[in-house]
């Protein structure tokens, strides 16, 4: 099976269908690329949620604007994807925010290179604390400004980042055969 090393997403300047005016207004000050899946253009992204790509500096500001102006008060998910062949920014960090009244969701992406850092979201959502620690634990992506960025699942002395695609499935264990 070929491993997925490149994102298939296409990025445009036009907001896809289904993005509310409140979101468009909130994101006006930022340079935002809207993501479109080539086979499902109306979805605007994987999983049926509109998605957008922002820069590292805008990452916390976009979420702050969504939270304060568009009432996206809930951080649903926070994770990352590894595309090992994409240069120079290998990782895509994802945050999924939701408006609990309208049930609208927006998946915000940013890209970061290996060894790079993304600003933290812990000042916006307490729940981002453990989520970012998990992303750090699994991918080795740092989050600048995080109060305590240590491994959360794996032992502190664990060697490697398990969800990177170049990490061996069985880890560095010596297996007895």
């Amino acid at each position: 099976m070929d491993r997925v090393t490149q994102s298939c997403m296409v990025y445009t300047d036009e907001a896809p269908e289904g993005v509310s005016d409140a979101v468009k207004t909130a994101l006006k000050p930022f340079e935002v690329k809207w993501s479109v899946h080539p086979e499902h253009p109306t979805f605007g992204g994987h999983g049926g949620w509109p998605g957008c790509l922002v820069s590292n500096e805008d990452w916390p500001k976009v979420f702050a604007a969504l939270k304060d102006e568009a009432n996206f008060e809930y951080l649903v998910d926070h994770t990352a994807v590894d595309y090992p062949d994409r240069k120079p920014e290998r990782f895509t960090v994802l945050g999924l925010a939701q408006n609990l009244e309208t049930q609208e969701r927006l998946m915000v992406r940013t890209r970061v290179a290996e060894g790079g850092a993304v600003p933290t979201l812990t000042h916006l959502w307490m729940s981002a604390d453990w989520a970012e620690r998990e992303t750090f634990d699994m991918f080795g992506i740092r989050f600048a400004g995080h109060p305590e960025l240590t491994r959360i699942y794996m032992p502190q002395d664990f060697d490697g980042w398990p969800l990177r695609r170049d990490f061996p499935m069985q880890g560095h264990n010596r297996f007895r055969d």
């Binding site: 794996m154 002395d157 060697d159 880890g171 560095h172 007895r176």
Partner: protein, 226 residues
Amino acid sequence: MSEVTQTEMSDLMEASGSSECSILLSTVRAVSSWSRKNSMWPLPLGLSCCGIEFMATAMSRYDMARFGMEVARFSPRQADLLLVAGTLTYKMAQVMTRLYDQMAEPKWVISMGACASSGGMYRSYSVVQGIDEFVPVDFYISGCPPRPDSVLNVLMKLQDKIDRDNTYNLTLETPEPGAAAPLEEQTVLGGRRHGPPIALATAGERFVKPGPQRSMARGVKPEETR
């Protein structure tokens, strides 16, 4: 208690001039083994579905109490038998090693089920491929999970082993002053804890992970974690 034969007992009765014997002769080892095997207090380390089967073993349908084992202790200080039931991850292995170190001698370990014995179907970076990487195991139980009768079978086998066992002698010799300690102190592979490291009294060198020991401090810098 088979140290004194029937003939020897008859001779003793004759020599005492009475047909009623009020003295029962045995050895300290036999008595201590007998009391140990019939008052086994397990520390159940139920890590996954094997823990449910162990609960079934302890409950009234299978009734582990028939063998003097009904007192499941959740403090290692009061337990004789560490029963590891389920999938052991490396993170939990540190906790298990610490629990084992806190148990008083004599102590025994049973590895219950495929996961505890060999990692089972989890051939993965996070799962210990057999708990004997960390603690010495007396018995392995096969099954995924094992049925309660398998557990009872092994518990009875363990009782036989303790009855036969001469590993733990009862000599109460005090070490000579100035004698070298039998085992050098090692840092426990414990989980997060506070306070100074605890010295291992019993764990041999082979059960201590080679290489530098972990730092327990939270707030390890990310670059040091790598």
